[in-house]
């Protein structure tokens, strides 16, 4: 049994204009020692899905799932109190904005030590020792000095390292990194990714890496899951996904990569945006932006099997060509 198993997760928000499904029937698994990447443009429901697992969504959210098991425990049945014993200890999460994710009023040492005290009951001296060890682990020089510093004295990259140290404090089995490098300088991005992958290997953790950047996926992940407008549209191993994407959305994401674009001369982008509340089309959610969309796509989207990476597409791509595509395709309205 995998470390984390989520089946058919749906999250819907109460809003003033009615319910809004931010996550729609997403399934995923992540095992110990594995890196799963979730890719998709912003607004695809990647963060919301993970926040649902952590129990961090506001009360306006309704979470349903056929199963949500972590380490053999049913997270759906867990009360708030029992869940708090797991999150921050066995499942840890880091976020997109490292600078604002640290509390400006407390020192680095305090914020790292907090988890150690709450979850492991460590005493003062022990906490300090462990905090220094953790800061060393995430590559922060002069950790003794950093312990007494406040977040405003740290750079973005440094803050993210501190966030990682905090997340690793209790040796989690699963680390969720939600766009951990998006807010950082390009030069720092690679360092943080290397650090995360290195730590994942040395600790044997599961790592769920959320990103909107296929470049990040290429460098790190083993398994990739592509998400669009709250739905999982494709899932493959990273190598297979890059060589033969089955969903037109994946193909579009890949052709937006700078190194691929050179072949075409200029950087293509996917026209349009992820539909949000109110502008979700009927049928396939990607159809308004899809170059292969037909009239059928405005009515339904079928889930393919493993051969086509479970693509949610009526005409999944094979070697760049849509299969089962009608001879005389009428263009979608």
């Amino acid at each position: 049994m995998a470390l984390l198993e989520i089946e058919n997760l749906t999250v819907s928000f109460k809003t003033s204009s009615g319910p809004f499904k931010a996550v729609d029937g997403v399934s995923l698994t992540c095992d110990r020692g594995e890196i799963l990447s979730i890719v998709g443009e912003s607004g695809s429901g990647k963060s919301v899905a993970m926040l649902a697992l952590m129990g961090l969504l506001p009360w306006t959210a309704t979470v349903t799932a056929d199963a949500m098991r972590f380490d053999g425990r049913d997270m759906l049945q867990l009360g708030a109190k029992d869940r708090r014993k797991i999150i921050g200890k066995d499942i840890a999460m880091i976020f997109q904005e490292p600078m604002s994710s640290l509390n400006p009023c407390f020192t680095v040492g305090f914020q790292i030590g907090e988890s150690l005290r709450i979850h492991l009951g460590m005493g003062r001296a022990e906490r300090r020792e462990r905090a220094i060890e953790l800061l060393n682990l995430v590559g922060i020089p002069a950790p003794e000095k950093r312990l007494n510093q406040f977040p405003h004295q740290l750079s973005g990259g440094m803050s993210q390292r501190v966030m990682i140290a905090m997340a690793l404090a209790c040796d989690p089995k699963l680390l969720i990194a939600d766009e951990p490098t998006t807010a950082l300088d390009v030069t720092i991005q690679a360092q943080i990714l290397d650090l995360l992958v290195g730590l994942q290997e040395s600790h044997g953790m599961g790592l769920i890496l959320i990103t909107h950047d296929m470049g990040v996926v290429a460098e790190t992940a083993e398994r990739v899951q592509v998400q669009y407008a709250g739905q999982k549209v494709e899932q493959q191993n990273v190598r297979a996904l890059f060589s033969d994407p089955h969903h037109p959305y994946t193909q579009a994401l890949l052709s937006a990569l700078p190194e691929r674009a050179t072949r075409h001369g200029r950087l293509p982008s996917i026209p349009g945006v992820v539909p949000g509340q109110g502008d979700r089309p009927a049928g396939c959610l990607f159809s308004p932006r899809c170059q292969y969309a037909t009239e059928r796509c405005t009515r339904e989207a079928v889930r393919q099997d493993e051969e086509f990476g479970f693509a949610l597409c009526n005409y999944p791509l094979k070697d760049g060509q849509p299969t089962g595509y009608p001879e005389t395709a009428e263009a979608a309205p």
Partner: protein
């Protein structure tokens, strides 16, 4: 931090000069003549009047009077009351503890109730609790102090007979002031019932004086908390598996307090003006009542000196709040 402090300190000087001018001018702009008022119904002969004008120096040009006054201040001499003939500074220090005791009790009450009320209202945003707290706070904020004080007196003193109407302690008790704080002195005196009497005299004035600061602090705490609760670091705290009590009471409140402390500091000025009315309503023998009485008698020296001293108290407290602010906000502390 030191630079920050010195900068604030430097701002005190122009404020002080401004206040001295305003205080000096204010009392002289009021119609009414101190010597005539002093003479009362008996009247006074023109010769005697001129003689007294010369004695008090009122016959000199106003600018000379002002410079003379400032020269006195610089030597620590705030002048002498025309009415009691005692030095203004001495009168101030005799009466100030009464006001300080009242103001301290009021601000403590306002903080102790206002902050938790604001926190709960924010956490339970939109609930009936939140709405009633904020409704009450709005009412309290717009409450005319005089009317509110009289209402409380009518109900608790008149109708229920629970609390005394005026003064600091029952006339049955007498002891020499040691600290000037009636609560402490009554305990030190060892007289049975003295402390209880002091408390019962303090309750209503404290409530009246605390009303506006309480309302302001509760509202400010609520809005600061609402803002902070949406911050990323609160999500981080939740993701660490901390208990809600710790997240709200430590991670969020610690940040929300930064603007609230500033608000509390600003309430000191409100408290001083409120004290003037409150002391008048309850015949509380503090500097507020002293000021009102002196304005009535056009006691120039007392009014201008008293206003200057009250302004000094406000400035000192604000300075202390600035320093405290520097301490609780790590981004200013260096």
């Amino acid at each position: 931090m030191l630079r920050f402090f010195l900068y604030r300190l430097a701002l005190v000087i122009p404020t002080f000069i401004g206040v001295s001018i305003v205080a000096f001018a204010f009392i002289r702009l009021l119609p009414g003549d101190p010597i005539l008022l002093l003479a009362g119904e008996r009247g006074i002969t023109p010769e005697r009047y001129e003689q007294l004008q010369a004695v008090y120096g009122f016959d000199r040009p106003v600018i000379v009077q002002y410079l003379d006054y400032v020269a006195g201040i610089l030597q620590g001499d705030l002048g002498t009351s025309l009415v009691t003939k005692r030095p203004v500074l001495q009168e101030f220090f005799t009466l100030f503890p009464a006001t300080l005791e009242l103001a301290l009790c009021a601000i403590i009450l306002a903080v102790v109730i206002g902050i938790p009320a604001g926190v709960f209202a924010a956490v339970k945003r939109g609930s009936w609790f939140d709405q009633s707290i904020m409704g009450v706070a709005l009412t309290g904020y717009s409450m005319p102090i005089f009317w509110w004080g009289l209402l409380l007196i009518i109900f608790f003193s008149g109708f229920l007979g629970w609390t005394p109407v005026s003064g600091r302690i029952s006339l049955l008790f007498f002891f020499e002031p040691v600290t000037g704080f009636m609560l402490i002195d009554s305990l030190l005196s060892g007289q049975a019932g003295a402390f209880k009497s002091a408390v019962s005299h303090l309750i209503l004035p404290t409530i009246v004086l605390a009303t506006i600061p309480l309302a302001v602090i509760a509202r400010q705490t609520r809005s600061a908390m609402l803002e902070v609760l949406g911050e990323d670091y609160v999500r981080t705290a939740k993701s660490k598996g901390l208990a809600p009590k710790r997240i709200i009471g430590l991670h969020a409140l610690r940040n929300a307090l930064i603007p609230v402390v500033t608000t509390i500091g600003l309430q000191v000025g409100v408290l001083m003006t409120g004290a003037i009315l409150t002391e008048t309503i309850f015949s509380w023998p503090g500097i507020g009542k002293w000021m009102i009485d002196s304005v009535g008698k056009r006691d120039y020296a007392v009014v201008q000196g008293g206003l200057l001293l009250i302004a000094s108290v406000i400035m000192i407290v604000n300075l202390a709040v600035d320093v405290l602010y520097g301490f609780i906000n790590p981004r200013i502390r260096r």
